[in-house]
């Protein structure tokens, strides 16, 4: 250590805080100027913490499971009645679905229809929150066998949950559909009208920009609009609900407050194509 006189040391100690505040301004400017560097830094930190997150999410998952058990026990009777009624309804739908499936197979044979292949998917576990205060995003733990690509959709077992925005070597950040910056093109089943589902940071995203004359009906099912490169079509998203203030919202099928595992759908092409990928197209994965 340098031998400094005490007054000089005191003066230096006094200076560190203002100097660091100036450095903080510098870091702010750097953050605005070089977003790629910041994104890489964030994902590097997420990769570094991935084992820690994985270890910590087990006991926390167990605690959440225990709390859910207690809640279920408390609501046992009403839940039972609801499930009986749902069971009846689903049996009737099952019979209708079987009949429709038969009819569908016959019609396909008769017309020689070539169906779209079901997109393949990989499953990854949700380990941490990645949204902080003003965003809604989660961190997925991916291993070397799952290499997510930006723009891939992620679904939970019921419906659409979000899209991949940032990718690290061992983790990926999924921006949920409820986030303020999320815009997903959707189709209203039945009328076939296209619309945009925009997140509002609240529990239900808003439906916008439907064509004139095709007002979404209450209870109408919403599915994803498949464009050939990025999003598989027909993935369930939710149901249209109108609020009292006259805004169309989507009640999502996915349970975003209880995400555990997410499915990442593989795409035929390279997802949202950055300039580098256009020059060197990725090979199609053959299954």
């Amino acid at each position: 250590m340098l031998r400094l006189s005490v007054p000089l040391r005191l003066a230096l100690a006094r200076l560190t805080l203002p100097l660091l505040i100036a450095a903080a301004f510098g870091v702010m400017l750097l953050g605005k100027a070089d977003a790629v560097l910041v994104e890489r830094g964030r994902m590097a930190l997420a990769d570094l913490l991935a084992p820690v997150h994985a270890v910590l999410s087990e006991p926390i998952g167990a605690v959440r499971g225990a709390v859910a058990e207690v809640e279920a026990l408390l609501a046992l009777r009403s839940e039972n009645a609801r499930l009986r009624e749902e069971n009846e309804r689903l049996r009737r739908w099952q019979a209708a679905a079987l009949a429709l499936e038969q009819e569908n197979a016959t019609l396909r044979r008769m017309t020689g229809f070539v169906a779209d292949p079901m997109p393949a998917f990989r499953t990854a576990r949700v380990v941490a929150d990645a949204g902080g205060i003003y965003a809604r995003a989660v961190l997925l733990r991916t291993g070397p066998e799952i290499q997510p690509v930006r723009g891939q959709v992620a679904m939970d077992d019921r419906g659409l949950a979000g899209r991949v925005t940032e990718v690290g070597t061992r983790s990926a950040r999924i921006l949920l559909v409820t986030d303020l910056n999320s815009r997903i093109p959707v189709v209203l089943e039945g009328s076939g009208a296209r619309a945009v589902m925009a997140g509002t940071n609240g529990p239900r995203p808003r439906l916008q920009h439907w064509p004139e004359g095709t007002r979404p009906a209450e209870g109408q099912r919403v599915v994803t609009l498949g464009d050939a490169a990025t999003v598989p079509g027909g993935l369930p998203v939710g149901v249209v609900r109108w609020t009292e203030s006259g805004a169309a919202e989507v009640e999502l099928f996915a349970r975003l407050d209880r995400l555990d595992v997410l499915r990442l759908f593989e795409l035929g092409l390279s997802g949202i194509l950055p300039p580098e990928a256009v020059a060197r197209p990725q090979p199609r994965t053959r299954r």
């Binding site: 660091l20 903080a24 870091v27 702010m28 953050g31 830094g41 926390i60 941490a128 205060i133 989660v138």
Partner: protein, 179 residues
Amino acid sequence: MRRRGVTFSLGWLVASLDRAARASAPAALAVLLMVVATVPPDLPSAVPALALGSVLFWTLFRPAAMGPPVVFGLGLLQDLLTFSPLGVGLLTLLLAQGVALRARRRLVRQPFLVVWLAVAAISAGALALGYGLNAALTWALPPPEPALHLLALAIGLYPPLALLLTRLHRRLERAEGAA
């Protein structure tokens, strides 16, 4: 036998490791708390509240353990962990430390409730600043409810946090007295 320069012996190595551990324990605990707070994906983010509480506590009661460079590191970590624009956490934590350092002389002798009130006031100012910085850096006015939730978390989490940190503080003091 005392020689000129550094006396290099095993005892010295162990003692300096001890000193290093004692000096870094508060910051290490703060980092651990922040990482643990990101794990539950469905709870509102407590990371800024924990960072602010830790920084204020240690600045008031053990300033040597949490000097400005350490707070810089914690602020950077907070910004990276919560995916917020770089610099929001940095500036708020550094300025909060500055205010706490100024008020330290008067606050250290006060009872816990007064300290809590002061921490609440400083947190409110810091989070308001954070809100403003977020608005400036993202060119959009963010919704105020999450900031209010965060303020409530920061004020509410401070007593249990202070309890935990006081225990560490006493242990460090005892270890230093014995060393």
